[in-house]
Symmetry: C2
Subunit: 245 residues, 2 copies
């Protein structure tokens, strides 16, 4: 992981799967990826969810990969007919797809170790677009892969996490964004004016206000974020004073 | 709610908020909206998450509202400076924005009932793009609103839900998609061939396969979905026989 304190490295997430759009499965990957990328200095800028439809996946992928440094996809890399992510990604890049020899070896070893056969259906999970590099995971034999700036991961949260951890050391990272949360026991409408004035004073610090109920009362979390630690501390101290916290 | 058993009514969700992209807040609205729309006969086709950046909101909104029958947005309609959804939506539609008289009345009554003042910051929540119609909610005084085919809701899940329920009777709906889940105690790679053959036999039934661990063993949920109840039942029975379930 090579970090550059000055640069900004951007990313998007593309979640692929009818089951998310039907509401049957509740996505748990977006939050995990968002939190992890923030922690290593990659700025997540956009998320899209599309169904298991080739032209939708291709269009979303091509829009996102042109625009951001990285695109992380989740879902659709299993052994069944509805898993069309690998083929769609090959199509988006305009390259062929075939069984990756190293992936086949990994999977043969995995199934042999369990006394199981590497059937054609299982071998389907070793298909990788031309030029793809594998991403191992500690949970199953089936790898994810990278093609260009696109990182293709499983949809099952435990496997997705293992792949995300496996690929992270290879990612280019930029300035880490530090964040401070100030809990305020007042509704946000009461502190909105002071908060807006403070944002104008520190344009280099992103300030967000999040309403919530605390002990049954309307309260607010104020979140200040910046890659400039000194400026962030100054802005936080100033806001504490301005709100008498 | 007017349903037409033959037609398909489509929708997208646009989640607006830096806090989702930073991972600080985990979205809980996408799953709620997805499940609800499916249940009333609206097909959710796409979800996007963008930050609190006017040009991003405008671009995403214009792409989605042109493409789908409805767009549901969540987030960014509070009283603080980082709440820019209403202004961004006015900009996307090319219309002005101002305090909506009915919204002002609602909010004045709400705050008066609590012995609180309707300050300028609070009145900010009564600003609605020209032509907008209000969506009340039972939780707070601040309404959501509709402009054209765009339904603008709060980000706080409890308030979002109240607004979604309030607007639902006015939505045009289409064919309801029925869904049957067949739990299978085998890994999906073992049933992939039979399942794919079954999908080819029933192209009008969408069939998805979802791997999971059941009692520590690799198992699969097969999900069959169709708006044609008779065909769905036939496909489910056929699949049970083919897999000896």
């Amino acid at each position: 992981m090579s970090g550059d304190a000055q640069s900004v490295v951007t990313a998007a997430v593309l979640v692929i799967g009818d089951e998310i759009l039907s509401g049957r499965t509740k996505d748990r990957n977006i939050g995990t990826i968002a939190e992890h990328l923030t922690s290593i200095g990659i700025a997540l800028r956009e998320v899209r969810v599309v169904g298991d439809v080739e032209e939708e996946i291709v269009a979303a992928l091509n829009a996102l990969r042109a625009r951001y440094d990285y695109v992380f996809t989740t879902g659709g890399i299993g052994p069944t007919h509805d898993d069309i992510t690998a083929d769609s990604i090959a199509k988006a890049f305009g390259v062929g797809i075939g069984v990756h020899p190293e992936a086949e070896k990994l999977m043969a070893a995995y199934y042999a170790g369990r006394g199981m056969e590497l059937t054609p259906a299982r071998l389907r999970m070793a298909r990788v677009p031309e030029g793809g590099r594998l991403i191992g995971n500690r949970v199953t034999g089936a790898p994810g892969f990278c093609v260009g700036n696109v990182i293709v991961m499983a949809g099952v949260p435990e496997i997705m996490r293992a792949m995300l951890m496996a690929i992270s050391p290879e990612l280019r990272t930029g300035a880490k964004v530090h964040s401070v949360t100030l809990p305020v026991d007042r509704p946000e409408s009461e502190i909105a004016d002071v908060f807006a004035a403070h944002q104008r004073r520190y344009p280099g610090v992103a300030m967000g206000s999040y309403p919530l109920l605390r002990n049954g009362e309307a309260a607010t979390d104020l979140v200040l974020r910046s890659s400039d630690g000194a400026m962030l501390r100054e802005a936080v101290e100033g806001l504490r004073k301005a709100l008498a916290l």
